[in-house]
Amino acid sequence: MASSSTLSLCSSLASRCRLSHNPKAHHPHLSPSISFSPSKASVAPLPSLKLAPSKPSSCSFTAKSSESDAPVIEFAPEPAEPEPAPEVPSPSDAPKREEVFAVVMIGSRQYIVFPGRYIYTQRLKGANANDKIILNKVLLVGTKTSTYIGKPVVPNAAVHAVVEEQGLDPKVIVFKYKKKKKYRRNIGHRQPNTRIRIMGITGYQDSPAVTLDS
């Protein structure tokens, strides 16, 4: 995945998305009919996040983009090389993963996602393990040659993902103390989160794009 310099956001996301290559497991299934297939909805609550109005506020797609605490991203300065510069032949990944990334908004936070990797988001209520999820709020899609910029959303773009597990963040100790006033509180806190693995990015081809002339 790190073969091309243009799509090398992987290094910065190391703290959140460990390189999760499953060479044999994931082929991006780009059938947009996933959201409509009733076979996936074996359980009554349809896991698709397209039905946003019925979901509680934890996955409300409000338009505000918050600067909530992102993990510290190590600075990996990349000189702005022209596109044909990286002539390094990519080592043979068995399935050729399509080189595309998207910026998606989940729980009023924005994430840069790649197919085949996982991200941790805030806990999605009503999502169980191995549920398919479609994320509609795609703000930007980038491929090797063109960029689709949404105002604010790229029309008809969808990111398909699978819920892997619903866990908890590492414990944070909330310690409150006031000196000389005999006030101290010691509380531990684990924030619930959800790990979702990105399957594929679809539906962006028809949007107006900014294409490189290369």
Binding site: T6, L7, S8, P77, E78, I112, L139, L140, K151, V210
Partner: protein, 125 residues
Amino acid sequence: MNKAKVFKLAKGFRGRAKNCIRIARERVEKALQYSYRDRRNKKRDMRSLWIQRINAGTRIHSVNYGNFMHGLMKENIQLNRKVLSEISMHEPHSFKALVDISRNAFPGNKNVVHAPRKVAMPLSV
């Protein structure tokens, strides 16, 4: 919290603060207070860092941060600063597309910024 927990949290402290319970307990409490405060400060610091990075990225293309964000807001592009800073670092072509959109959305921008000139300093100086 009991002594074992205190010592576990006091790893890496200087001098007797990692070994002696009376001192370690004080230092650990202080450390926990700082971490409470800094969880809030981290959000501010990160945003400041993102803004600096975006500023650096846009000035390469002769636009400064303020006009760039103004143009994006006009075009109703809702990418946040975290993502913009990442794109400016790793996806230079996408970022240039964004800068062009912003520049076109906000014509009459008299404040054309020139890219910082890199002067080759001789090492002996």
